[in-house]
Every structure is written in C-alpha cells, then in structure tokens.
Symmetry: C2
Subunit: 605 residues, 2 copies
C-alpha cells in the first residue's frame, strides 16, 4: 500500500547508471544557475523602502543612493567570485574553500551557515512567491501560509521524482522573467518621461530630520538581500561546457549585469512613482499596476515573478542535498544523507530541506520581511569566509599577479564582513537565533564525526589475525503455554543445540502446577524452568533468569533467546495479542549481550 | 527515564497478593455506590427547564408534573433492580443478565452500550463539574474544556495509582453533598414560605399555546437523565457485608429515597424562584445564589457539587475496566484488558476510558446539554435489556410468586423502553451517532472473538502426537564490509551450523571486486555471495536471494537470517547508522518464513 502510493507520487525506481551529465552552454547555465540571484529583485528594493519608511515618506529618496551602493557591492562580489572560479574549477563552494584554506572548524561554520541559508532560500522564495500571488489576488491574503506550504510540498515531491533539470525547460521562465522585468522598466520609464505619472516623490537631497546613520545602514543591509544567490555559478563549474572556467566566468558577469540593471531599474521606478511599501501588495506589483493597470500584462508579470521565485526555491533543492552529501562524506552529518533514493536524488536531504523550510514558514507565518534578515546573514557569513579563504590561498600559493587578486578578495572580504556586522548591529532582534542555532549545528557536526570515528575504531579488523571463534550454544525459549508455536520453536532450537531451556512465568501456584503437569505429559525433550511472578510482570523474572544463564554459560556459550511471534493476517489483529514479546525484545536488546531470534508463526486466518 | 517518570506518577509496583476485599456496610456502600446517581440532581432539573424554555418562560410550570413523573419512574426502577439483586447475588450487571437470559448478541448490545455509557459518565460528570465551578467563577467560563481535561487527567492518574476506594474517605464528600443539598432545599423553602422571594413564576395550569405533547415528552426524557447511575448497587452485591443481598436491597431503597427527595426539592425551588436556565450559570447555582447570596455557603455548595460530580466520574473508572475485563475474558475484547498493571488496576481499561472521554469532551466542547441525551440513551438501553432478561428468567424458572415479580419487571421494561423510544423520537438529531457507533462496536466484538477462536485452533496441540521435529540449519548473514561485527556474527553462525553464507550487496564493479579480494585475504571459512544492485536497494536483492535459499533448502533446513545490529551508547547516535537492518527485518518478518536473529554489537563509546 505505502509502496504503491510512493510509486504514484515519486515514480519508478531508476538504475544507478541513469545519472547523466548534461553539460551547459553559457546561455542555459545562466538560466539554470541564476534564478536565485535574479529573483532577488522581486523583494530587494522593497526591503530598502520598508526600512526607510520608519523615517517617513520623505526619506524614500535615500533608496536611490542606497541602491547604487548595493550595485557597487555587487560589482565587488562578481569580481571576487570570478577569481574563485579560476582557482577552484571543480566547484568552489564556501564549505570547500573555507575548509581547505582556513581549516575544518571554519569550513564547518561556512557549511553550517550555508545549510541554514538553503533552508531560508526555500522559506523566503516561497513566501515572496506567495506575496506575488496575493498581490494580484488580494482575497488569497489570509491563506498565505497554506499557499507557501503547497509550493514547498510540490517542490519536495518534484525533487524526489528527480527534476532532471532539463535546462531548456528551466530556461523559459527565467528568460521570460528577465524580459518581463525589462519590459516593465522600459514602459515605466517611458510613461514617467511622458508625464503619465503624477506622484509627489520627495526630491533627491531633501533633508529629513529623523534619518540616522543607523537607519541608512539598516536600509543598505536590507537592500543587500538582492545579492543573495550570486555564489551559485562558482559552485557549478564542472557542469559547464569546455572551457568551463572561462564560460563560467562569463556567465557570472552576464548574470551580474542583468541583476544590477533590473535592480536599479526597479529602484528608480519605485522612487519616481512615489511608491510606499504595503504589506498587502509588493512594490513590483504596485509598479506594474501603475504602469499597465490591472490588465493582462500585469497578471503575466505577477505570475512570472511567482514562477521565478518558485525556481529560486528549487535551486536550494539541488544545493542543500549536495552540501549535506559532502558533509556526510566527511562524516559530519549522518550517513543517510549519502544514500541516493529510487530516483537518484539524495532523498533524505530533499525531505529534510522540505520539512525544515515548511517549519520556518509556519513559525514566521510566511512573513517575507522577517525572514530576509536571517537569510541575508546566512549568505554573508559564507561570502566572507569564502573571500577570507581565497586571501589565505593567494598568500600561500603566490601565483604571478597574486597581489591584485589578493587585493580584490580583500576588498570583497572587508565589504561582506562589514555588511554581516551591519546586520548584526542593526537587526539583532531579528537574527539573534542564528547565534544560538549555528553553534548547536557545529556541535552536532563534531559529535557526529566523533561517533563515526569511534565506531570505525571499534569495528576495525586485522584480516590476518582476527578470525571467527566457534563457541557452544544455549537457547532460552520463553513460553506462555503448550501450543504449535512452542512445538515449532523447540524443534528449531533442538536442531541448533542440545542446551535448550523453556521458561514459563506463572502468576499463581495453580497455574504453575497445571503447566508442569501438562509439560510432563507432553515431554518434548526439553527442560522446563518455571518462574513465579508476584508482580504480574513477565519481563522482569525472565530478565533475571537470563542474567543467571549469562553468568553461568557466557564464557563457553553463545546465548540465544528465541522469541515466538505471531504474524497476523490483518494488521489490526496485531493489537489483539499481548505485546510482551515486543517488550521483552526491547529490554534484551538494550540491556543484554544475547542473540535475539524471532521465530515467526504466520496465522493464516 | 520513562520508567522513573512512571514511578513518580503511578507509584511502586504492587504484589498480586495485595488485592484485598474490604466489605462494605450499608452506610459506606451508599456513599461509594451512589455518587453517580445522586450527582445527577446537579443537572436533572436543569435539563427539563432547558427543553421547556423553548415554549417560553410561561411553560416552566410543567417542570413540576414532569418531575413527579420522573419520580414515579424512579420508583419503578428501584423495585425492578431490587429483584435483580436477589436474583443475581454475585452481581447482575446488564451484560451478565442479558447474556444469560437473552443470548450473546443481546448481551453484547447491553455490554457495548454500557461501555459507551461509562465513557459518557466521565464526559458528562466532568463537564457538569466544570459547570459548577464556572458558575461560581464566571471568568473561568472560557477555559471549560481545559478544566474538564485536567479533571479527567487527574482521575486517570489517580486510578492508575489504584484508588483503594477507601470507603471512609469517599463517604465524606457524598454525605456532605447530601447534607448541603438538603440545607439548600430547607433554607430555600423557608425563605420562600416567609416571602423572601419575589419571583413571578407562572401559576400551575397556566395555558401555554405552543406547548406540544412532543415538547413535554422531550422534557420528560431529559429529566430522566436524573436517574442515571441507579444500577450501580445491583452490580456490586459481593462487596456488601452479610447478608449481602438484603443489605444491598436496603441500600438501593435508601439511595432511591434520597435521590427522589433531592430531585423534587430542587425542581420545586427552581419553579418557585422562577429560575430560567442560563448557559453560564447552573440552576443549582442560581438557587443557591438566590437563597444565600454569593457568600461562604454558596461557594461551599458549588465546591461540593463539583466534588460529587468528580466522584461520579470516578465510579466509571471502576466500572469500565471491570466490564472490559469481563468482555475480554469472553474474548470479545483484546486480551490486554485482562492484564493488571503495576498497581493492580486494569491499566489498559483506565487509560482507554480516560482518552475516549477526553476526546468526547473536546468534540462536544464540554457542553453538558449536548452530551446528556447520548448519556441517557446509553443508560436506558441496558436498563431495558436488563429488565427484559429478568422477565425471561422468571418465565423460565417460575419460582413461587414469580408472577408478581414478572409484572414488576415488565412494567420496568415497558417504561424504560418507552423512554428509550422517546429519546430516539424527540432527540434523534442528538443521538443518531449511537446507531452508527453501537453496530460498529458489536461488529468489532465479533471480529475479535472470531480471531481469537481461529488463533486458538491454529495453535492447538495434541500432546500425545505433536512432538518437536529436528531439521538442519542454514544461516544467511547480510554483511556490509569486513568488521568486528561480521567476525563475531560468523563465529556465532559457525557454532550453530556449517551451512553459513555471507551475502554482500555491491553497487558497482569496483566495490564488488575490492570486497571479494579482501574476503579471500581474510578467509573466515565461510562462503561469500556477492549480489549486484543496480537500484541502490540493499533489501530487494537480499530478499530475492533469500527466496532462492528458501526454495532450495526449506524442505530440509530451518533458514535463519542473522542480522548484525549496532547498539549505540546514546539513543541519538542511533540515527547515525543506516536503518537498513530495521527495514530488512520488517520485510523478512512480514513476507518470509525465516527465523530472524539479531546479533548485537554494543558500541561502548
């Protein structure tokens, strides 16, 4: 039943050989790898405006210089990551770069924050996608959490099926998004230029009394959320067509250019149109509405925005399981993250990502604004560590022209570190949990690794000297009466060894006497030991008895406890039998060093 | 951990010998057995008034003739049950009487409705007890469900600890309740007689246009809820001091008299005071308030009322597990209801009652008024069946003077049947689920009995001819590498038989080659079979292999699959190991007829 349901949902199992490497051209790579980064424009400008509004509408003009600053930061990041591409052509995720250059602990810090970051990617993208939908259809606003849940569930199932990431299909919505945003920007600019907009945006340079440096920094750091996802290209170099580094580097620059243009365009339009952020309608929706009205074009823009955010969430579904795999390979995460499922995806990683991000959406009630600070911090910590790793690398290897490279990475590191610190100072109330959560994650990494190391030590064998040792056997059979099951169990036990003892636990003298008499009558060739239980417990006297047997014979014999177990025809019939055998097995399993054998008795009606 | 917590909550285990029969005097028996019946006055009158109010306040005078009719019914019931006492001195619950005289199916109908009834006793009493509390403290009104839950939880824990039902302790609140209600009635009558009440109650006989016969019957049947619990005495005769039947009969009459007096007293006062039912304040609370004001006496009356309702719920905690025990003894319910827990109570019955009644309270949101029709029907079905059983008994046995006895039981039967029918016709919208639920319960009874009968048949042994048969052994050991666990497992297997096969599942040629080479080097004296899995599944190829082994050897050999299993030091480490062995065991257990042996490997760090 469960199996059938799984088949329908996930599809038939696939052979290991069916993994195939489709190599990407620059244009396709741009589509596949940039949805996370490009989709950030759907909320980047809005995050700046939300912060500025705290000082009143007059302060919104600051969004223009802030957006330009974000653009500058984007430029620095692109330059820095371009260097990573050439340095780590086999894929330079922050975990790898930090581990190799800064040591395992820093690598784990980067890895831990990336894991958290991927969970947040899904949570933020599905929440923001929901925003795009509810902006278009305000009546759905009350069902935000549900919509985001459905998105996450759908993504999880799709990824368990194994999205083969057929680049040609994924490319369509990404290009549609880029086109539709540019159409929006150009139409918006034209409309504004021809005076079609009558908004009273505060002039650039207007003095606003209550704008503090703190507020501006906060707005700037919020705007940096538009930069999340730019690292994707540098992680995926092996997927590019030859010459892969060069192609990857060019793709990165193309992506940076498009992202920068869209971001500044949206910011400018938002300013010219005098748009104020509104919890029920996104800034992009307001711009589209003001430009085109609620017509077909408006709904297309909203739909494509939701779609691209959906794809952005999807990128985390490839990145998270892969990082979990790498951490599991280094023994920092449970081995189960290394197992490929029926459809060749890392199912455990996919399921964990789905569950955790859904939990986040529920806890935050699908509130994009509150999720973004966590998300951005989760991105900027590995950004910083990755740049720092590159700096160390240059000083160690010192290739020709390393000084310029070192300087570029240093600028990148200082900038991203500064932004991370601005986050901590300006949004501490939103992000404090990261400082509790990350140490816990890293602690678990270490404990896991330690456990695996210890286990391996205890399991290690010297193939020349460690050989199997043969001992005697003693079998104990707990019985509750004289039945077919007992007959068969004794038959089994006697075909293993002559040291077989049947044990019966009686609750009163009458019961015990009856049993002893019947046993003598039957005479199955096995000794019966009768225990008396004053406390109506079967397990306690049995455990005591097994203790005695262990004490007497464990030096020469293997001790086996043979437990007869009914297998009923229908599952519900299971509850009709005393669960003593399950209880006994659990006790023995945890407390004794005996082999537990289950003798099956299939009830056929 | 779990064990420790259980100890604190439930207490130390008790020896079977600690069950002791404390015999009851009439006065103590009255206290122990009548809390359910007497507590009904806390809601009986109110139920009549709620129905009458549908025709307007002028109709409330009908509560007086209706109360007198209920009183008459009480008289008939007492007479009838007096006869059951003498006929079944070992305890004549409706299940026993109906099963003996009307056959098993009718007995099961009685038993099933009694089980439902006991669950409802707890739900109704805890809801009504909550009403008493929230009447006194209106601010608690919004936490009704929570208060009732806490009551049920407390009762469940108390009964798991084993309330030794020390009659002397239980007697106190019952007598306090009787005294306080009589004090209330007498003070109320005096106050009314001296004209301290200025209420405009409609005169008896006032014509009210929209009072239909249907409404009056409905009100009457609602009033009959005051009679729930009168059967308790006839179930408990063996607990009485000698001469037990006589003592029980006298106790029954005493109880009937007190109940009747209290009920009619409350009804009269409610009429004289012109009280209208109010969802936020009980009728008893309104009377007490009108008589004494919200002073000490008022709070004492409310407190004691809540307490007696609490005790009424407690009676179901002795009755339900006992009835479940009797049904389980007759194989109609799972055997687990026959097991006495650490504290000698039938823990499974107690826990089931607690959970089911709590569910009912949640579903009905602690609404007493909606629960009572179900409750009363649950009582009147076994009432009727029990009387019918007595009628059959008299016609069969025909003792001297049986005709009068037959007539009394016939009147009892006809009356209770009529009331049950009135319930069905006037309150069908409230009680229809009984007609779905009861057949299901009875169907489950029969299925359970059938399963036990079938199992017993398949287990039955002929002690003279059925003897254990000795066969050969083949052991299959699935392995994942060459480790200490594998070494020890092979040692164990080889000490059982020489037919040992180790099976390794490899995912690619390289893995398989490496394994084969290492095995040859180790040479543990056991053949290695290597399976190749294209689908990354370990269980599927293994199951296939075991199929082959079964097909080849099951005629001559027992087949044992020996599964090595890690036992980690800390529970959380468990998730760090692939759960393949658990999965494999589940598959084998359900699909194959092989012995499954678990070889333990205790990791000590």
């Amino acid at each position: 039943m469960v199996n059938k349901f799984k088949r329908v949902l996930i599809g038939r199992p696939m052979k290991s050989g069916e993994i195939e490497g489709e190599k990407l051209t620059k244009l396709k790579a741009l589509a596949v790898l940039s949805s996370d980064a490009l989709s950030s424009v759907a909320y980047g400008t809005e995050q700046i405006l939300i912060v500025l509004m705290a000082a009143g509408f007059a302060a919104v003009w600051y969004s223009i210089p802030i957006s330009i600053a974000v653009l500058g930061l984007l430029f620095i990041l692109i330059l820095s990551y371009r260097q990573t591409i050439f340095a780590y052509p086999s894929g330079g995720g922050a975990y790898i770069v930090a581990k190799k250059n800064l040591g395992v602990p820093v690598g784990l810090l980067a890895g831990g924050s990336l894991l958290v970051d991927y969970i947040l990617t899904v949570a933020v993208s599905s929440s923001a996608g929901t925003d795009a939908i509810t902006s278009a259809f305000p009546s759905l606003h009350d069902h935000r959490v549900l919509i985001a849940m459905v998105m996450i569930l759908f993504l999880t199932i799709m990824n368990l099926r194994g999205v083969t990431e057929s680049a040609s299909v994924l490319a369509i919505p990404v290009y549609l998004f880029v086109i539709s945003i540019f159409v929006l920007i150009i139409s918006g600019v034209i409309k504004y230029a021809f005076g079609g907009i009558h908004a009273a945006a505060p002039a650039l340079g207007t003095t606003v009394s209550n704008v503090s440096l703190f507020l501006l920094l906060k707005a700037f750091s919020s705007g940096c959320s538009a930069l999340t996802g730019v690292e994707a290209v540098s992680n995926a170099i092996p997927n590019f067509k030859q010459p892969s580094e060069k192609n990857a580097a060019r793709t990165l620059i193309m992506m940076g250019t498009i992202l920068g243009a869209m971001f500044i365009g949206i910011s400018l339009l938002a300013y010219w149109y005098g748009i104020a952020p509104n919890p029920k309608e996104t800034v992009v929706s307001q711009i589209a509405n003001a430009t085109f009205g609620r017509g077909v074009i408006y709904y297309i823009i909203q739909g494509i925005t939701a779609l691209i955010l959906f794809l952005a969430a999807n990128t985390a579904y490839s990145a998270f399981p892969l990082l979990a795999f790498m951490l599991a390979k280094d023994k920092f995460m449970p081995r189960m993250f290394m197992v490929r499922g029926d459809r060749l995806g890392f199912s455990n990683g996919i399921i964990n990502l789905g569950v955790l991000s859904a939990l986040l959406v529920i806890v935050f009630q699908g509130n994009t604004e509150n999720l973004i600070p966590l998300y951005a911090l989760g991105v900027f910590i590995p950004f910083t560590l990755s740049q720092l790793g590159m700096m160390i690398r240059w000083t160690k290897l010192r290739p020709s022209g390393w000084k310029i490279k070192f300087i570029i990475n240093t600028i990148g590191m200082v900038t991203t570190l500064t932004i991370a610190l601005i986050f901590v100072f300006t949004k501490f109330t939103h992000i404090w949990m990261v400082f509790i959560f990350l140490p816990i994650v890293i602690y678990i990494f270490y404990q896991t690794e330690r456990h695996y190391r210890n286990t391996a030590e205890q399991l290690r064998i010297d193939v020349l000297r460690d050989k199997p040792v043969i001992k005697g056997n003693t079998i104990v059979i707990p019985i509750a009466g004289i039945t077919q099951v007992v007959k068969q169990s004794i038959g089994y036990a006697k075909s293993v060894t002559d040291n077989v003892v049947a044990v019966y636990v009686g609750f009163n003298d009458e019961e015990i006497e009856r049993m002893e008499k019947k046993w003598a009558e039957w005479n199955p060739g096995v000794r019966l030991i009768v225990l008396r239980s004053s406390y109506r417990s079967v397990t306690r006297p049995l455990m005591k008895f097994i203790n005695t047997v262990e004490w007497k014979t464990s030096a020469t014999d293997h001790i086996t406890v043979l437990i007869p177990q009914f297998i009923t025809k229908h599952w519900w019939q299971h509850i009709l039998h005393n669960q003593t055998s399950l209880l006994l097995r659990a006790y023995l399993f945890n407390q004794k060093n005996v082999v537990i054998s289950t003798f099956p008795f299939h009830l056929n009606k």
